[in-house]
Symmetry: C2
Subunit: 534 residues, 2 copies
């Protein structure tokens, strides 16, 4: 777990530079067979364009946060350029740093954030809040035209655990805490948040809230928005503090307006979350299902029976076949050497986190349901292997881009009765747009009583212009989601990439509401311009 250090992410790869890995041998063979190997080394720019911020503006920022916390050097600005979507990576790999901020500003407190926003309003600077930099939807690519400059508001210094309430089981966290940092501070108190998105190693508390993140343990711990009971936000018009009670009837729940606001309404400076006891035991196992349909029906039975393990995910036949549930083992033996015939089926992961006795009881009850529905238990070995490699998939994407294979993910959600229609529509859209030899894999990793998410991984041979190639495929898949009435994003957020589809999802009037709130809280539009608001 050496990656859990305070390293920066690589400027055009996922994760810290020293974590970059070549393709595992088995995977390389598979890739060569499927797509051919076409080495495409990155050709990054030497430096971003010169920062355009006038020196009096820099001085003003320095007076707020201290001179050492306003950074204009090339490397820092490069590392705060865009997020980690495949388009972001393709642009960075090809030397395009045109979205680099003019300066990186690092406030330490709510008051400093507020003061930076006041300066930004005064001088009409665009401000991009920056947490982990893990956005995969263009959430860090603000429009800069018409602004006096663009400042990356880096929350890296806001990493305190502000309060713990062991009676109410809540904790108040600062936004800059990365997943492992938050868990580590909570663990000292015997607590956990239980939020493990794939971006866990780098993504931050503020980002989880701002994007309505959902983690791999969402079946047990819920989505991040369901964990939040309080928020403090710095806006250009002042402070917004919410959270009088777990739930109430005091009008619309404004916490749910801040959650998912993606830095466009304000900067989240503290988040009060519901916490749980640190689990004593974590057990993962795998199951095999004859079809995606059979596995999905079993997930639905568990969700509607209110009998959910902590982790519940199901790979379709294609994802199961290439074993993407275990990126370390791509092309390897799907059942991890355990006896049991998973060939041709679909692998499900079930995980139990908590007290051993409670885990055992839940596991027995879940096992009874899954057995009765025709599942075959593959035991703990493949489950633990999944848990071991659970944060690795994004690293693999870079290794594939290195050899000319375009890989990206996208996700959506719908009600159970619409699941198969959504699955087919998105898959067909991607295959049609990207052509023969494209691999479309899917898994379900978040379930509700009324529906589930669908998470697609796409791999295809890079065309001459891979960015254009991908944007066309993404548009086709997004159109397909809208055509069947699903959401444009279950947990990746809107950013700038999904923005063109948001009005279709929430309607003209829904877009109008967002613009009205934006105009109220950020009247001069300095916050993350071009992101979220349709």
């Amino acid at each position: 777990m050496t990656r859990f250090v305070q390293s920066e992410m690589h400027p055009h790869r996922w994760g810290s530079p020293d974590a970059a890995t070549a393709l595992p041998e088995a995977a390389r063979g598979l890739i060569e067979m499927a797509f051919g190997i076409d080495e495409r080394p990155a050709t990054p720019a030497a430096a971003p364009p010169v920062g355009a911020l006038a020196s009096d503006l820099l001085d003003a920022l320095r007076s707020v946060v201290g001179p050492e916390h306003v950074l204009v050097d090339d490397e820092t600005r490069r590392l705060r350029t865009r997020g980690k979507s495949t388009p972001d990576l393709l642009r960075a790999r090809s030397g395009d740093l045109s979205d680099a901020p003019d300066a990186v500003c690092r406030p330490a407190t709510h008051e400093e954030v507020a003061a930076v926003l006041a300066l930004a309003v005064e001088h009409h600077l665009a401000v991009v809040p920056f947490g982990g930099g893990t956005s995969v939807t263009g959430g860090l690519v603000a429009r800069r035209e018409g602004y006096a400059g663009l400042v990356s508001l880096d929350l890296v210094r806001m990493k305190r655990l502000l309060a713990v309430d062991h009676v109410s089981m809540t904790a108040t966290l600062e936004p800059g805490l990365r997943g492992p940092e938050a868990e580590s501070l909570l663990a000292e108190e015997g607590l956990t948040l239980g939020h493990y998105p794939q971006s866990f190693e780098y993504a931050t508390i503020g980002g989880f809230a701002a994007t309505r993140s959902s983690g791999q343990s969402s079946a047990g711990y819920g989505r991040f928005d369901a964990m939040v009971v309080g928020l403090r936000v710095a806006t250009p018009r002042g402070e917004l503090a919410l959270g009088s009670s777990p739930a109430n009837a005091a009008g619309p729940d404004l916490r749910q307006v801040v959650l998912g606001s993606e830095g466009a309404f304000g900067v989240i400076t503290a988040v009060t979350v519901r916490v749980r006891p640190l689990p004593v035991e974590k057990v993962y196992e795998a199951w095999s299902w004859p079809s995606f349909e059979a596995g999905a029906d079993a997930m639905r039975a568990l969700a509607q029976g209110l009998l959910l393990p902590t982790v519940l995910r199901l790979s379709d036949e294609h994802e199961t076949a290439i074993n993407l549930a275990r990126p370390d083992e791509i092309g390897g033996d799907v059942d991890g050497g355990v006896d049991g015939d998973a060939a041709g089926g679909c692998v499900m992961i079930t995980g139990y986190e908590g007290e051993p006795a409670a885990n055992a009881a839940k596991r027995a009850a879940v096992t009874a349901v899954l057995d009765a529905l025709g599942g075959t238990c593959l035991g703990e070995t493949p489950g633990q292997a999944w848990a071991h490699g659970r944060f690795n998939a994004p690293y693999l994407r870079d290794s594939l881009l290195d050899v000319g294979v375009l890989v990206e993910t996208m996700e959506t959600a719908t009600f159970w009765s619409n699941r198969d229609r959504l699955y087919t529509a998105v898959k067909q859209a991607l295959e049609t747009e990207l052509g023969e030899g494209t691999l479309v894999l899917c898994h379900i990793s978040h379930v509700y009583e009324t529906g589930c998410s669908l998470y697609f991984t796409v791999a295809t041979k890079e065309a001459a212009d891979p960015l254009r190639q991908w944007l066309a495929a993404k548009a086709a898949a997004s159109d397909a989601m809208m055509a069947v009435g699903a959401t444009i994003t279950h947990h990746h957020a809107v950013g700038s990439d999904h923005r063109p589809w948001l009005t279709q999802e929430i309607g003209e009037l829904g877009g109008s509401i967002l613009r009205a709130i934006k105009a109220d809280l950020d009247p001069t539009g300095i916050l993350n311009p071009g992101v979220l608001i349709p």
Copy 2:
């Protein structure tokens, strides 16, 4: 269950006129001892003021909904005057019908609602959406100054079950369905909503959504806002349709903006809710705790252990002593004749609704926890008695007003660590303001991992001006809630009564957001003016 017919509520009492009951004998004796009997018969007005709506406006409304659905007769207008708070009842009893609408308009479809709103915008009519008329927070007392008239938009004709999805376990309901009507339609499909607020017999689906209602089975079924997955709303600026998926990251959750909007943003014309299988068995039992604290700690243990029965409520020592948990039996034997010493303690009700095997398993697990924490099981008899009388308390209030005893309820919520402070603060505020001989009772009926609701019932001898007396007490209690950082309302909504405190709870900027949304959706301010928006 004969009250579950389509009767109108009494103009100045809770429930249908034929359900009005005199005080039970045991209660009358108790009341006489505590407060004295001071008969105060109601002196209702003969008729409301003459409706002020110009005849061309009435004709325009008639052309939209049909002539028979625009009603201007005295009795209909009287029955659409205000809701059922004690101030509402006191005003009606004393002959004040000044808030009567000029006309009652009954649209049958979303399109008719939209057309009525268009007319209202054109002629600047104030529109008050009317569902069950059960508001206890002044939600039906719109400001009429400056408007061409005031129309009660009665949703009584919108009572269809529009769709059922047995796979996704959702149902789409029209807003005018009362609780029993919705349950009856769902029961034909083998389904239940499981939403049983005390107003269940009269309150409607649209009202549940518009006020963020929470029912007596919230421990098992959740709050109403947690059941909603989709909404259709008619606003002066057009239609708002939300609900692409159970949950998503497509920006702020705008469903949570409509929920709790109290008719100020638009008229909810359809609600899609998560449903559950109709329970096969309902079992209720009672427990006794040595103190409110001990019982509350046990509730917290269940909530934080994720081991909640379907119903979970706890009366404090005072409520237990007068047995208000069972309004039919006020003054009667607290444990229903069952052996077991509840004297001096606090009664808790636990209820299990579902399959017998699942109920038994849950009950065994809950029993183990409650036993270990020092609870004493009183068996099913008092539990079933609670269930039998669960909707009766509001009827009692009228009988007490008849004999000069002012009774009202108020509720709030906070985090567990603040529970005792909130309890003490509200109790002291009420006792100080209302003086000696005032009875303040409390129960907890909604729990969360991080906190709970507190529901107070206050009884005091009526002063010469009971309205003024109560408003002062209500203000003192509301100030106390704000002083300890709790919410002004857990499930009764804001209405016009709580509006003066809303800004303290959500801040100036929170109020500003509500005004911005209001201005966007209802730019001329025709919808429920004076309600909710600070």
